[in-house]
């Protein structure tokens, strides 16, 4: 028979779980789900985001920082101690993995902006955003890859299993998890380029290509964001921060701005809604994400999944009791939830918005 074809199966894979009751789940679930889709990546990037993992430090911003060398660490820590009260510094616990030969120096910091540094009424969140942008663009060889409270991202160059073992993912317990395996197509596979991409408590995993990257980047730069990580997905994290946190849009409206209905569909809407959608599209023309994508974004209160407007990338969702799952392939969900209550493929451009119940 003629079956000796060998093929690299391209695609990126993503997966996410949320407990609406904020039950904390250990990292083995997300790892097993992601590892099922190992062929969607090629070992040039994998990562995990977890929410609720630092309850002992929940009032502190948790900075996860990767350093190329000790000099960049010294420079970063000098800057940090100058502007922040530092509660704790530690190297991120890792486990030696044979195939991961080179890794950056990985350090985490639990910090709070010094009161005296919050001049001119700047909020703590804004101060942290400024710090992240400054470090990532100005301190050579230092990258803040996670900066939210009571959450953290763990990512690098490797496949999902290796990265999970390296960061000892199974030892963390979170109420929201996302995971990503990468098949880089347009940009380098480097530690900072692995997903999730983050800012404050936003974290994004993405399959596809954001072909509007240039427009989105220039738009974000006008608001002081600096795009330094060489990968299109970075814009999605900062756009959410701008639209939701800074401009006060609710999540659904922000999603409608990012994956806006086509003009022909806007024209068909009833009066009122048509005007609102027209205004939204015009206001946020430069925030529109074009090109093929499925993406998941986590934040401290929920998990959202969304596709591009003509569904050029896969996304499946499922529920089981208080848990909601979303992934590139149904099998990645079934691997960790054999009998879901419901399974469906969300329609193009229609976000699946899941929020944790208020305590």
């Amino acid at each position: 028979m003629n079956h000796n074809f060998q093929k690299d199966i391209a695609g990126c894979g993503l997966t996410g779980i949320i407990s609406r009751k904020k039950r904390r789940l250990d990292g083995s679930l997300i790892k097993n789900s992601l590892c099922l889709m190992r062929d969607r990546g090629n070992g040039l990037g994998a990562g995990y985001a977890a929410y609720g993992i630092y309850p002992d430090f929940e009032d502190f911003y948790a900075f996860h920082v990767m350093y190329d060398d000790r000099t960049s660490r010294m420079e970063m820590e000098e800057h940090l101690k100058d502007s922040y009260d530092v509660e704790k510094i530690e190297e991120i616990p890792t486990f030696p993995v044979k195939s991961i030969v080179i890794s950056p120096l990985l350090v985490r910091y639990f910090v709070k902006p010094k009161k005296g540094r919050l001049v001119g009424g700047i909020s703590e969140d804004d101060f942290v955003v400024k710090t992240v942008m400054k470090v990532n663009s100005e301190i050579e060889g230092a990258y803040v890859f996670s900066s939210g409270k009571n959450m953290g991202v763990f990512k690098g160059v490797g496949n999902p299993k290796e990265i999970a073992e390296f960061y000892r993912i199974e030892e963390y317990e979170g109420y929201i998890w996302t995971g990503h395996t990468r098949f880089p197509t347009n940009t380098p596979g480097w530690w900072g380029g692995a997903h999730p991409f983050t800012l404050l408590d936003w974290s994004i995993v993405h399959n596809g290509e954001i072909s509007s990257y240039g427009i989105n980047k220039r738009y974000l730069e006008m608001y002081g964001y600096k795009l330094t990580l060489l990968t299109d997905t970075e814009v999605a994290a900062y756009l959410l921060d701008l639209l939701v946190r800074k401009h006060g849009l609710d999540i659904k409206t922000a999603c409608t701005a990012l994956a806006a209905p086509f003009w022909k569909d806007v024209d068909r809407m009833e009066d009122g809604r048509r005007e609102v959608l027209t205004a939204l599209r015009l206001t946020y023309a430069s925030a529109l994400l074009n090109g093929p994508f499925s993406l998941l974004f986590g934040h401290s209160k929920g998990l959202v999944g969304i596709n591009d407007r003509i569904k050029l990338r896969p996304l499946v969702a499922a529920t089981k009791d208080d848990l909601v799952y979303m992934a590139s392939e149904e099998s990645a969900i079934r691997e960790i939830c054999s009998a879901p209550d419901s399974v469906w493929a969300p329609r193009a451009g229609e976000p699946v918005v899941v929020e944790v119940s208020e305590e």
């Binding site: 003629n2 003509i310 990645a332 079934r334 493929a345």
Partner: protein, 245 residues
């Protein structure tokens, strides 16, 4: 019946075992605990029956030429790519891009199907590929369709999903789509005509659905009670002049 327990098995190993069983002359193969393994049934040219328990991975039944695959659960994307003959029966729902360039054989899905179903289905000589979904479909149903038959039933009256999405038959230049329910002309490609099926069409629909109903133990007469719309290309070569200027 020959059984393979696929639990935790890598797709290459599983497909090797399936091909070996087929090569050894097995006629009925049961795959248990399948979850996400790609390429099941691809390129197999024997008239075997493969029963799958669990969710098979992408690219099921690609280039398949003869087998019958029964999926007892849901299935994923890209089923029946360039399939030549045989049949795939899915008892749950299925994903996007089903029957890409399909040129023969049958794909029966009881539940919903995703986007770009029947994209560039074509048929070959006297072969007429058939895709039937008992549920709803996403956008781009029958995109670039060149031949074959696509039938969409919308059997679940309680479903909150629209029967069919946007851009139906965009670029269609052959074959027929039959939809059980109303079709909004503005959701169809410019080259698509929406019309009432004639007696010959109804006979074709009945023939196709007879086997579909047998596969899923459904009542054919009940299904036939509701009227269908027929969608066909109204221009043979809509882009014939595209490069002529």
């Amino acid at each position: 019946m020959y059984e393979i327990d696929a639990k935790g098995m890598y797709y290459r190993k599983l497909n090797e075992l399936v091909r070996k069983a087929v090569g050894d002359g097995e006629k009925e193969i049961l795959l248990k605990n399948v979850n996400g393994q790609y390429y099941i049934g691809d390129g197999i040219r024997e008239k075997v029956k493969i029963i799958i328990e669990g969710v098979p991975g992408n690219d099921l039944a690609a280039f398949m030429d003869g087998p019958t695959i029964i999926v007892k659960d849901n299935a994923q994307d890209n089923i029946g790519n360039t399939m030549n003959s045989g049949k795939v029966v899915v008892h749950g729902h299925a994903g996007d891009v089903l029957g890409y360039g399909m040129r023969g054989g049958k794909l029966h899905v009881l539940g919903d199907v995703g986007y770009r179903v029947g994209i560039h289905m074509k048929g070959l000589k006297k072969q007429i590929p058939v895709i039937i979904s008992g549920g709803t479909a996403g956008d781009f149903l029958g995109e670039y369709m060149a031949g074959g038959i696509l039938i969409l039933l919308g059997l679940d009256e309680k479903s909150d999903r629209p029967l069919v999405g946007d851009y139906i038959g965009t670029g269609m230049h052959g074959g027929s789509i039959f939809i059980r329910g109303d079709v909004d002309k503005t959701r169809c490609g410019a080259e698509v005509g929406v019309m009432e099926p004639d007696d010959k069409d109804m006979k074709t629909i009945r023939e196709c659905l007879k086997e579909f109903c047998e596969d899923f133990a459904l009542d054919l007469e009940e299904i036939m009670k509701k009227p269908f719309k027929k969608l066909v290309p109204v221009s043979a070569r809509p882009y014939g002049n595209l490069y002529a200027y």
